[in-house]
């Protein structure tokens, strides 16, 4: 398969509006009939019930919902960190879970970003960013070059030799994003990556994520509990409701890209947020 990052037509096109989920009309991630049941001390917890979702190549999907609605569970299943109780998930036609076992081959093009940066304190920023490349046997020089390039991309130029403890929270999260991008993933899964940041930094990171998405052209699944953030970033917003966790609605966001902070004040944006908030309150 070809990585969209290398296709010239996905390169940043300033001002160009992208039609949601219509890059090539082909689905890259396919979730069908996924159930997740946890065995808790007081019986079973139905975390996810019959989740079906088809995500197109290059699409940006936001998963929103209250805490406990199963959005993180769904993301962990997609990431291969948690087996589904039933149902199937395929990436590029390849099943990512095979009989409860993770199919490592299917994950070669996945990048993960967690709520915590999870940088290794014993590695410098550059070594952290290049860790996935090291695991893939890329040489030292090439790793270094890529790390430098990515530091530039995520706004950490000159910090290659710093240790994670020398960085602020926002900077660490940037480094974590750079690590996830290091091997040009075609699917980027993000679990509330900016949840621990203050509002100003968060706005800034959202803008940067948008431009990274435009440049890298990867498919993104982004978990958040902020409706504003979800709408701002996404091509489609998937709303989940708890007990049991299931998809309540899928809302397209036909706002032009690139979006700016002014977009959030537009009537169109406000209307989408209003509808989603209403749906969230209804349950």
């Amino acid at each position: 398969m070809t990585a969209p990052a290398t296709e010239p037509d996905v390169a940043p096109r300033p001002g160009a509006a992208r039609t949601p989920g219509a890059l090539d009309g082909q689905s890259q991630l396919e979730v069908s009939g996924v159930d997740k049941i946890y065995q808790a001390r007081r019986g079973e917890v139905h975390a996810l019930s019959n989740v079906n979702l088809s995500i197109a190549r290059g699409e940006f999907i936001s998963l929103v919902g209250r805490s406990g609605c199963g959005k993180t569970t769904l993301l962990r299943i997609l990431a291969g960190l948690l087996p589904p109780s039933s149902g199937s998930v395929t990436a590029d036609g390849e099943s990512i879970w095979r009989g409860g076992k993770r199919n490592d081959k299917a994950f070669e093009h996945f990048g993960l970003v967690f709520q915590d940066a999870n940088l290794f304190p014993w590695y410098t920023v550059a070594d952290n960013i290049a860790l996935p490349l090291k695991l893939r046997g890329v040489g030292k020089k090439a790793r270094r070059a890529r790390a430098t390039e990515l530091c530039e991309l995520v706004g950490l130029p000159g910090f290659e030799n710093a240790y994670p403890r020398e960085l602020s929270g926002g900077m660490r999260q940037r480094a974590a994003i750079a690590r996830a991008l290091s091997y040009d993933p075609t699917i980027l899964l993000m679990d509330e990556p900016f949840g621990a940041l203050d509002a100003l930094t968060r706005d800034k990171m959202n803008l940067e994520l948008q431009s990274i998405h435009a440049q890298a052209g990867a498919t993104v699944v982004f978990v958040t509990h902020s409706i504003n953030e979800a709408v701002f970033l996404a091509d489609r917003v998937v709303l989940l409701t708890p007990r049991p966790g299931r998809i309540r609605s899928v809302t397209p966001v036909p706002l032009a890209r690139p979006r700016s902070l002014e977009t959030e004040t537009s009537a169109e944006f406000q209307e989408i947020v209003r509808v989603l908030r209403h749906e969230l309150d209804e349950e």
Binding site: N118, A162, E166
Partner: protein
């Protein structure tokens, strides 16, 4: 770590090229930081002077019997005599040998056992009562038995030093193996890392601080084990020299040997700490609290 992520001084992140660990260049704060850094180097000599001063005071002014408390100068002379006499060097070497062999043995076995018990939960549960029992038993009580089994030579002391050093190392490693951050594990799993890669890039480096924490306690315990072993069933070594000095009622020499033992203990501890500083410069216990 996690609460630091939540710190809000993040927006200035991109501004300017790298100011490493940039704190506020606030002059008064910097002054206080420098002072804090050098404080022990100022306070320790002062404490030493106060200690030796009051010691001398007790001897010459209060008039404590020199059988009980010899004057600092007498102890110093005795120490010089010992060191220039030459015989003491053999005792120093014997004790050092017992401590080092026992400690290295404890380090290797303790790390291995700790790593296994940390990972194999059922095994840890199975042997836990036995471990607790072994831990609460005053282990120096076994020295006479070791002397019977292994003789008056160095072996029984090595075993004592090793056993005393083993427990803190083993327990720390066990804790360390279990304390590998779950988020870090998710990163490696998400990348489909092999077992070996996970060990090399994650488990080993994150356990190293625990190994060193155990080793710092372990080296102190090893010294205790060797000395007590020599007290109770020795024919040579610094501990035995203490006993010999006591039997000869040579108080200055007794004190001098204790000074030697204190020096040996401090130097060994310093060696472990220095190794730690070189091996895990990134760790908070070495680098200080993050900015």
């Amino acid at each position: 770590m996690t609460d630091l992520v939540k710190s809000s001084e993040t927006t200035a992140a991109t501004a300017g090229p790298r100011p490493p660990a940039a704190k506020d260049p606030d002059a008064p704060v910097q002054d206080r930081d420098t002072l804090m850094k050098w404080l022990p180097f100022i306070s320790t000599p002062i404490l030493l002077v106060v200690l030796i001063g009051s010691w001398q005071f007790a001897v010459s002014v209060i008039g404590v019997s020199e059988f009980i408390l010899p004057a600092p100068l007498d102890v110093w002379r005795s120490l010089i005599d010992l060191l220039s006499g030459g015989a003491v060097w053999r005792d120093i070497w014997i004790t050092l040998y017992e401590v080092l062999v026992g400690f290295l043995f404890a380090l290797i076995v303790g790390t291995a056992v700790g790593a296994v018990l940390g990972r194999v939960i059922w095994l840890e549960r199975a042997v836990q009562p036995a471990l607790v029992a072994l831990q609460v038993v005053p282990k120096v009580a076994f020295i006479p038995i070791f002397v019977i089994w292994f003789g008056f030579g160095t072996t029984s002391k090595i075993i004592m030093a090793g056993i005393l050093a083993f427990f803190p190392i083993m327990l720390n490693v066990m804790l360390g193996v279990r304390s590998v951050d779950r988020g870090h594990r998710d990163v490696m799993r998400g990348l489909g890392a092999s077992k070996w890669a996970t060990f090399k890039s994650l488990e080993l480096p994150s356990t190293l601080p625990y190994i060193f924490a155990g080793a710092e306690v372990g080296i102190v315990f090893a010294v205790i084990g060797a000395i007590v072993g020599e007290y109770l069933g020795g024919s040579e070594g610094l501990g035995h020299l203490v006993v010999r000095s006591l039997n000869a009622l040579d108080a200055p020499q007794l004190f001098a040997v204790i000074v030697l033992l204190a020096l040996m203990g401090s130097l060994l501890y310093a060696a472990v700490t220095l190794t730690k500083r070189l091996m895990i410069p990134w760790h908070d216990s070495v680098a200080g609290v993050s900015p």
